[in-house]
């Protein structure tokens, strides 16, 4: 057992913090939250390239692909620092781990170094309007036609489609097969002809998010595919085995800092707010009942952290998850909800005031958070599905 950081890790943490303080400027944040169709835009792209130049996107990736061959824990530590300001730098999203695991040599050689440099980023085209949490029921079709696949269909919540260079798309390739066995995954450039991206604005869009964080990006997308033609080399892994490739990617995606930090950032915020001299009027520090609640939430947050540390320890030791990744995905979002509700009551009427409001607290951070708190219990599989996985895969309970 070792519950500490190495001093080299502490030093790296400080280095990352200094980088963020210098580069994560308000104009970057505003670009992310901009209402236009241009989304992340040039400033953020530059920032990602700078992060790539430092090698921080590839710490734990093999050297032959441009990574540093380092350990996953150090990678995690860097992710954690970026996650604090709302940036996900987990190695290019769920695309990269799946490409490493299932890609051809060509695919690895092409994508991994570019992901590590911050040049390529993937949007994830999984969910469809009719499917929701039941991913495997997807309808989007990919039909073989000579050397190509032709894709037709629709995806929803394609969250960074407007700012990504590439798409990581799940489509049905065999409509006759059982639903999990007729799905394939494709890698394609976002600018492939036939793709239309339509913005969907979330309720965190109005008014815009508080300053200093990109957490709660207010835009997601619907994406439409009309006779999108891509070469057969776009297929990732075996034909019709995409469900298993995708599930593996999702599982790996579940490990990491950003999932956990989204749910516990407010715990640090409320404590630090309560400690600030100017917050006496909020009656947090001087109210024993509120203090008890703050402590309760803080302890839960520690459990979130420790569950994440456990997952990282398992990955680092080369072990396999049974339920630990899913457990994180139950515990952290549900904690986030409990904390959100608790802090709303602590702040009383201040808790409802948004960023554009007079007299708000911390730029309306807590109110803004409240608008999206339930969301982390839905993304990437609802907490109930994750709980099923703990029970079925972790505890070996039979299916109902």
């Amino acid at each position: 057992m070792d519950f500490g950081y190495a001093s080299s890790q502490q030093a790296l943490r400080q280095e990352v913090r200094d980088f963020i303080a210098e580069n994560m400027t308000q104009d970057v944040v505003e670009e992310v939250h901009g209402r236009g169709e241009d989304g992340r835009g040039p400033l953020m792209n530059d920032l990602f390239k700078k992060i790539g130049e430092r090698g921080w996107l590839g710490i734990s990736w093999p050297k032959e692909y441009g990574g540093q061959g380092g350990d996953r824990l150090t990678q995690y530590l860097v992710e954690e620092e970026f996650a604090r300001v709302g940036l996900s730098v987990g190695g290019g999203g769920s695309g990269a781990p799946a490409i490493m695991a299932a890609g051809t040599q060509e695919q690895k050689d092409y994508y991994i170094p570019r992901i590590i440099k911050g040049e390529i980023s993937f949007a994830q085209g999984f969910t469809e309007p009719s499917g929701g949490a039941d991913l495997a029921s997807l309808q989007c079709r990919a039909v073989e036609d000579g050397d190509e696949f032709v894709i037709n269909g629709q995806k929803i919540y394609t969250s960074s489609a407007h700012v990504s260079t590439h798409l990581y798309l799940m489509a049905r390739t065999d409509p006759e097969a059982p639903k999990h066995r007729g799905i394939s995954i494709f890698l394609l450039p976002m600018d492939t002809p036939g793709i239309t991206v339509r913005p969907l604005w979330t309720i965190q869009n109005d008014p815009p998010a508080p300053e200093g964080t990109t957490y709660g990006t207010p835009r997601t997308n619907e994406t439409f595919y009309e006779n999108v033609r891509i070469p057969k080399s776009s297929l990732l892994g075996e034909l019709n085995m995409g469900w298993y490739v995708g599930a593996m990617g999702l599982n790996l995606d579940r490990v990491g800092a950003s999932r956990y930090l989204i749910s516990v950032r407010r715990d640090e915020d409320i404590v630090n707010l309560a400690k600030s001299d100017s917050s006496e009027y909020l009656n947090i520090r001087n109210n024993p009942t509120v203090r008890d609640k703050v402590a309760e939430m803080w302890i839960e947050a520690q459990v979130c952290r420790l569950m994440t540390w456990r997952s990282m320890s398992i990955v680092e030791s080369g072990g396999n998850f049974t339920y630990e990744g899913s457990a994180e995905k139950v515990w952290a979002p549900e904690h986030g909800l409990r904390a959100t509700e608790a802090y709303a009551q602590m702040l009383g009427p201040y808790g409802q005031l948004l960023n554009t409001s007079a007299n708000n607290v911390e730029s309306g951070l807590f109110a803004h958070n409240l608008l999206g708190a339930f969301q982390s219990g839905i993304n990437h599989g609802s907490v109930q599905i994750m709980r099923d996985q703990v029970a079925r895969r972790g505890l070996g309970l039979p299916r109902g």
């Binding site: 929701g132 039941d134 979330t202 109005d206 509700e341 007079a358 007299n359």
Partner: protein, 386 residues
């Protein structure tokens, strides 16, 4: 004892529901969120002068219908259910406060205008320290000849921009005094607050605002009990609105769970979803029973403060869960501007933070049961300590 609605009560409720189902589509609710004024003048005219909501529970001698508050509580459930953009709550809390403690002249002047829908009112109490206790009031009213001069800042004032007059609680020499002040008085300025509910709230700043002595409600320096009544009305009617809103929100989640298919069956067939919905209906029922009991006690002239706090604390705590369940059942849709479900979510959340937090109301319940003489018994009368 019969905790169900009587025929009369059902009629009141159904009339309000039918009216709002017809006249208050979510498109209107959305429009009013963006509207600068923020309420439908047309609807206000109808509910006040045609349906008689503002007259309903005011005394008959001042143009009211003299019906119990219980009826008004049912109206607020419907207002919450439909998120009706009308300044009914702030007007009625203020008017009922005047009806209780205002001077004869004030009542004769103000209440008939409220009853007819010609006067919109609001009330203010909370300041920088937002607790609902006497000592948190820092706004001062200084005697100046026969008049008073107000200085200070009130926060979280509902509908100030819609109101003709507002009640101001201020420190006078030896206690608290309530004043009824024209919203257009010289020296008043505002700051716009934007709550997640996106209904209208303001901070109101008083800079040497002159008010005459006849604008005092109740006795000078002895306003705390009047203020408590006002705050209790606010708390319990907000609880009514929350119950109405949460029930509609739940019904939408329930409906969706019956139709949305995942993994080959309606998601409501999954025990985890079914149990979420079962919990939701029990939370709503519990909140509704507590709220209705509190209002009933007000009607009976029995002690009601513990009951009001029970209701608001429970609604704050549990109805937020209800709306979260509905959001989760709706999946990503719940998070999208273009679908309606968030309209209720944002309001229940916001209202749960108004007129006393769960912590504050529980502290008051604790006073009622722990700091009074004699043993307690569930279902028996429980007053706050003097």
């Amino acid at each position: 004892m019969d905790v169900l609605l009587s025929e009369n009560e059902e009629m009141i409720r159904n009339l309000a529901r039918e009216f709002l189902e017809g006249e208050c589509p979510t498109s209107l609710v959305r429009d009013m969120e963006k509207d600068e004024l923020g309420y439908s003048q047309d609807m206000w005219k109808k509910v006040a002068s045609e349906l008689g909501w503002t007259a309903l529970s005011l005394p008959e001698q001042y143009g009211g219908l003299g019906e119990p508050l219980q009826f008004l509580g049912l109206i607020f459930e419907e207002v919450g259910r439909h998120m009706a953009p009308v300044p009914l709550l702030s007007t009625m809390v203020s008017a009922l406060t005047i009806a209780r403690d205002g001077s004869e002249a004030m009542k004769s002047d103000i209440l008939p205008q409220v009853a007819s829908g010609d006067l919109i009112l609001t009330y203010s109490f909370q300041e920088t320290d937002p607790r609902l206790i006497e000592s948190a009031v820092q706004t001062t009213a200084t005697a100046d000849g026969g008049d008073f001069v107000l200085n200070g800042k009130k926060l979280f004032v509902d509908n100030f921009n819609q109101a003709d007059k507002l009640i101001v609680t201020a420190k006078t020499g030896k206690g608290l005094t309530l004043f009824l002040v024209d919203t257009g008085s010289a020296g008043i300025s505002t700051e716009k607050e934007v709550p997640t509910a996106k209904d209208k709230q303001f901070a109101v700043i008083f800079d040497n605002v002159k008010v005459s002595a006849d604008s005092v409600i109740g006795e000078i320096d002895k306003g705390w009990t009047t203020a408590e009544y006002m705050l209790d009305l606010g708390a319990v009617f907000y609880a009514s609105q929350m119950c109405g809103a949460a029930r509609k929100d739940f019904e939408m989640g329930l409906e969706y769970s019956k139709n949305r298919v995942a993994f080959g069956r309606p998601i409501g067939a999954f025990q985890s979803v079914a149990h979420m919905l079962a919990d939701a209906v029990m939370y709503i029922d519990g909140g509704e029973l507590l709220t209705r009991e509190a209002i009933w006690k007000m009607d009976q002239d029995q002690p009601y403060q513990v009951e009001v706090s029970q209701a608001k604390a429970f609604c704050n705590d549990k109805l937020q869960h209800v709306t979260v369940y509905s959001q989760m059942i709706h999946g990503g849709m719940g998070f999208m501007m273009e679908f309606d479900i968030h309209l209720w979510y944002r309001r229940v959340a916001s209202w749960s933070m108004r007129m006393g937090s769960t912590f504050e109301h529980r502290a008051r319940v604790a006073q009622g049961i722990l700091d009074t003489p004699g043993n307690v018994e569930l279902g028996m009368i429980q007053a706050l300590p003097a």
